[in-house]
Amino acid sequence: MKLSDETYEQQAALASYCRDGHLPKLDATIPDNLNQYRRLVFNIISDALGTSYPISAKKVGADDWEQLVDDFFSNYPCSSAQIWSMPYELITYLESDEHPIKLKFPWLMELLHFEWLEVEIFCDEDEEVHAEKSTEVLNEKLVINPTLRLEHFTFPVHKAIELKEQGDYYLLAYRSSENDKVYFEEITGFLALVIHQIANTELILRDILIESGKKLGITDEHVLLQEGKVFAEKMLQKTVFLGKELA
């Protein structure tokens, strides 16, 4: 049975009040208590966002952050049924909205994205991985940790103390298969290209290193392979790579 218009309107009015704080005409038995709903709901949203984005909240300052939270919750219908994933919707909201905070803090979108990566990767669902121990890394098709994200930032969000210096920052973010913690690692553009190739081609590491080197004008193949091998072995230790493809 469909609800009557009156019941729907009362429910929608209370929900709308919780989101935007504008008290509507409601048939309430204790009108003075309605503000408790707005307070409780807003606190839940504010806590969840503050927990996911502690650095962003601190960097923009309490007033701007609270205004952002208010604007977000007033204007954006949160669609996630799981509150842990709701904070990602703040990024979606800002991407689709010309909010003044983006002009005031040009690094904010990248910082939010950086902070969200940690939550998202920590919570990533487990995936079965088919790999075996690497024995000769240069001649193997390496298997990448399924939680790995390769990210490019133009602000040094991983050094959140100073965000002014723009440039090209390549970060690996992944969940260790040893201890389930999330790690970030800054790498060079060249290594970012190598990892991108490992993830997206069927080539063995040696071929990827040589091909990537050519693209960037690196001609000393010996050094390229030697340093590439050291890097790959380090990544194997850190579980960025989980081994080689099964034969």
């Binding site: 009557s4 019941t7 429910q11 929900a15 204790i30 408790q36 709903y37 219908p77 919570c123």
Partner: protein, 272 residues
């Protein structure tokens, strides 16, 4: 799960303490599926370990049975997969709404106590039960104002219980909170409520924020009048599991165990 077992809400803040409890201290744990579904890594490992040690019940947050919106069927199917994966029988939720006009609010808003709302919810209960292949157990929630009511709370709950085939999660703290906030008589409420449909009981603490308002916080110790309500209702219900809810402001763990013991002593007294 045997009847009259006593459980504790499994929250991440106290998960280590719960896992290190001596056998028999608690009989089961309860968790919110929304906080654990579709998640891997450490939390998945923690959940698996908890499920190996304790029987589990789940208490959902986002079903929004009283919402004007359509039920979220993909979400319900995820809940079912979760219940099946961990072999969970009791799925409880709140007789409230937490989503409206396609926006989640992540808290429990009061459904208008109205006849059309009863019909609307009864139909949705059937849909939920069909998808989950389990009985839906709905909790009497605390509320701080009724909205456009045509009947009182107890008539509303009874109408839903009588017109649907769902079970009731009787939250004894919410009885206390609502009786205080809305100035009704607890004994009369209990007398009129259809307790035969009780499948499960919650007990918790609350916060009195003014002379006229109590907020259902699950963040304080249980007070004696709430224990007294527990004693009154379990004398009138069939034996059912009883759960201590504590969601934040966690005290020394011994204090929670003390509350568990007090719940057990009330059950033993009534059973004797």
């Amino acid at each position: 799960m045997k009847n009259y077992q006593v459980g504790l809400g499994y929250r991440r803040d106290i998960s280590e303490e719960i896992m290190s409890l001596a056998p028999g201290t608690i009989d089961f744990i309860e968790l919110a599926p929304e906080n654990w579904m579709n998640i891997g890594g450490q939390w998945k490992k923690d959940l698996k370990a908890a499920a190996e040690k304790y029987p589990m019940t789940v208490h959902g947050l986002s079903l929004s049975i009283g919402s004007p919106d359509e039920l979220d069927i993909p979400f319900l199917k995820q809940v079912k997969a979760f219940l099946d994966e961990y072999n969970i029988d009791i799925y409880s939720e709140h007789l409230s709404y937490s989503k409206c006009d396609n926006a989640h609010l992540y808290d429990l808003l009061p459904i208008p106590f109205r006849k059309d709302a009863v019909k609307h919810i009864v139909k949705r209960i059937q849909q939920v039960q069909d998808i989950l292949e389990r009985e839906l157990v709905l909790e009497n929630v605390s509320y701080y104002s009724a909205i456009a009511p045509e009947m009182d709370e107890v008539d509303f709950i009874n109408a839903i219980l009588e017109e649907s085939n769902c079970g009731m999660l009787l939250d004894v703290n919410n009885i206390y909170v609502n009786a205080f906030n809305h100035k009704y008589d607890i004994d009369d409420f209990i007398h009129r409520l259809n307790l035969q449909r009780t499948r499960y009981i919650h007990i918790a603490g609350h916060e009195k924020v003014s002379d006229t308002l109590i907020i259902d916080t699950h963040g304080q110790a249980i007070i004696d009048p709430v224990y007294e309500i527990l004693e009154k209702v379990i004398d009138k219900t069939k034996p059912v599991p009883v759960l201590l809810e504590r969601d934040f402001n966690f005290p020394q763990f011994d204090e929670l165990i003390g509350e568990i013991k007090q719940i057990r002593s009330i059950i033993n007294k009534v059973e004797a």
